[in-house]
């Protein structure tokens, strides 16, 4: 970012890069070909345009974008303090906490959905008291956000924790001697210096949220317009008369939109801004 661009490749480096290009190309192909195959299939079927204007598709797309964005925003707010503490503070049980945040990654999404249901459903551990105060969480749009948050927040947490750990504590110490409080130091130094990790983690978190299916199905249900995000719409298309062709068309729409947004996020996120006279 604010590092100088390195010098041009040395001859010995060029050889290594050339050697790596082969396996790298294979890996790239492996990742790209299935997606390209989907695009090809959809193109030959020819009805992607119709689907795009279909109200159900648009509703699902809007819902996906709205919920995943809210999920990312919530994740940033909730996870940042946690990541900072894990990177800087010492407290009993720290390693347990650290492992705990990996748990949602290990759970199969359907199991995660059941866990959320058991916790927050009307009969659930936390759900019953919530229901008594008139708040129902499961099977609502909010439930979609909760399901997405549950499975995607750990990505942000991991990335951000590593990002904070990489910030030299000397910076924070110097900031203190210059009269700046620890909280303002966090905003002016620690967080900006962790920015690559913040962006990378946000990309992962948002991507996982957009693609979330299993937990959403169980915890939020498959209600058109209310909880049917794009992945759910794709599954539904598969189950309905739209069948495979429908599923492919919707998948391509999702992939195209997601790719564009991910690219945008990466490009805008990592751009450095030198602030003068802060």
């Amino acid at each position: 970012m604010w590092r100088r661009r390195g010098p041009a490749q040395r001859p010995d480096q060029r050889a290594l890069h050339a050697g790596f290009a082969g396996p790298a190309g294979l890996a790239l192909l492996f990742l790209a070909v299935p997606v390209l195959a989907l695009v090809y299939e959809a193109a030959t079927a020819g009805d992607v345009g119709d689907r795009l204007t279909n109200e159900q598709t648009l509703a699902a797309l809007r819902l996906s974008l709205a919920t995943s964005t809210l999920t990312l925003a919530l994740a940033l707010v909730l996870v940042t303090p946690l990541a900072y503490l894990l990177a800087r503070a010492e407290f009993p049980g720290k390693r347990v906490v650290d492992t705990l945040i990996d748990l949602p990654l290990v759970l199969p999404p359907t199991v995660a959905g059941v866990a959320l249901l058991v916790a927050f459903g009307r009969r659930g551990v936390l759900g019953s008291p919530l229901e008594a105060s008139g708040i129902e969480l499961a099977f609502t749009t909010a439930a979609v956000i909760v399901a997405q948050l549950f499975v995607s927040a750990p990505f942000l947490a991991r990335s951000l924790k590593a990002g904070f750990e990489a910030v030299d504590p000397a910076y924070e110490a110097v900031s203190a001697t210059l009269g700046v409080s620890p909280l303002r130091t966090f905003w002016r130094v620690s967080l900006p210096l962790a920015r690559p990790a913040l962006v990378g983690g946000s990309v992962l978190c948002w991507a996982r949220a957009v693609g979330e299916l299993g937990a959403t199905l169980i915890f939020a249900g498959n209600f058109e317009g209310r909880t049917q995000t794009m992945p759910l719409a794709i599954i539904s298309a598969f189950q309905s008369s739209d069948g495979l062709a429908g599923a492919i068309a919707l998948s391509v729409i999702l992939v195209a939109v997601a790719f564009a947004l991910l690219l945008l996020l990466r490009v805008t996120g990592v751009e450095p801004r030198a602030r003068a006279g802060s």
């Binding site: 030299d168 203190a176 001697t177 210059l178 009269g179 700046v180 920015r195």
Partner: protein
């Protein structure tokens, strides 16, 4: 005015200090691991001592007994760390102005301009740290530390990573600044020449304790112990005895001022550059503290030569440092035998401590 009297423990390492710094530059000199950086950290409020008191600028910033422990934000010290810690994501102006949150924009700008001019950084105000040379980065760090009103300046080996020419420049800057600033300055270094150059007074630190604290010349010429002599690069340290008013050290009889009450085993030191080399005249009598010796080895540094001579009578080798011109005039390589003089006023005698 800066007063320190503290004890601090980190793991197995114990730091115990008691000293005061007026409007002067005190060098904290010692080998790595002696606790120099730790000392600055305690002064800045980044480390908490387990006992004692620290007073800076007339305020008590730390007092264990009274439960006072001001955070770094409130201690008003300028602190330049070894690795600089210039904020890489902020440009020079933003870095220097970092601690100036209390001022309005115009006031900030003026202050930054002042500091950039003071440290000869004009024109670099919009550069990013990564675009600056080592010397420029150092000066920005200094400017940043000086931006706010400070009661003391703490510098932790700020010039250690720079080349010789740059170091000289920056040392000169610092000396000039010090004259203008009227602050206590504590400067940490493990470089002997730098210590001598900059320090009004020098505190020799070893294993968490101050072994000697005094004026520069005194520390260099009159080390308080063998260890201080070793640390300050004294090449000639002789074990000797004082018996019946007579001094003998390194196997040689010496005339020197023996401090009253000193008797028995002693250490005698004299810096190599204070020893004199004379032509050997077989006819003439030998004045006191002069010995005939043979050159056994020689190290040629650019501006001087370090000679090792073995006295003809029994005795330990003596190291003599002689500048290039005298070396040439005497035509040292042409002869083997010389007379080494250890001038009495420059011999320093002190009791040898066991252990």
């Amino acid at each position: 005015m800066l007063r320190v009297d503290i004890g601090l423990t980190i793991g197995a390492f114990e730091l115990a200090l008691d000293f005061a710094v007026d409007h002067e530059l005190v060098v904290l000199f010692g080998p790595s691991g002696s606790g120099k950086s730790l000392t600055l950290g305690a002064l800045a409020g980044l480390r908490t001592p387990k006992r004692g008191r620290i007073e800076i600028g007339g305020r008590t910033v730390f007092d264990r007994a009274l439960g006072i422990n001001l955070p770094p934000q409130r201690r008003n010290v300028g602190y330049v760390v070894q690795q600089l810690a210039l904020f890489p994501h902020l440009d020079v102006t933003a870095n220097v102005a970092y601690g100036l949150g209390g001022l309005d924009r115009p006031a900030r700008r003026r202050r930054v301009e002042e500091l950039l001019a003071l440290l000869k950084l004009d024109g670099l105000d919009r550069r990013m740290p990564v675009e600056l040379s080592g010397g420029q980065q150092q000066r920005v760090a200094l400017a940043r530390a000086l931006a706010r009103p400070t009661d003391a300046l703490l510098l932790d080996e700020p010039f250690s990573a720079l080349d010789e020419a740059l170091r000289s420049d920056l040392r000169a800057e610092l000396i000039r600044l010090r004259a203008e600033l009227e602050l206590p300055v504590v400067f940490v270094t493990h470089d002997l020449r730098e210590a001598h150059l900059l320090g009004d007074r020098i505190a020799v630190l070893d294993q968490g304790r101050i072994l000697q604290f005094g004026a520069r010349e005194q520390v260099f010429r009159a080390p308080a112990s063998r260890r201080v002599a070793e640390l300050t690069g004294v090449q000639n340290i002789f074990r000797g005895t004082v018996a019946g008013g007579r001094l003998e050290a390194g196997g040689l009889p010496l005339h020197a001022t023996v401090p009253p009450g000193v008797d028995g085993a002693v250490d005698v030191t004299i810096r190599a550059e204070l020893c004199n080399l004379r032509r050997f005249d077989p006819e003439g009598p030998l004045p006191e503290n002069c010995f005939v010796a043979r050159v056994t080895s020689e190290l040629a540094f650019g501006s001087m030569h370090l000679l090792r001579l073995a006295p003809e009578a029994a005795g330990v080798p003596i190291e003599v440092e002689i500048a290039t011109r005298p070396y040439e005039v005497l035509d040292v390589p042409s002869r083997e035998h010389w007379v080494v003089e250890l001038p009495a006023p420059d011999l320093h005698v002190f009791p040898a401590r066991t252990g």
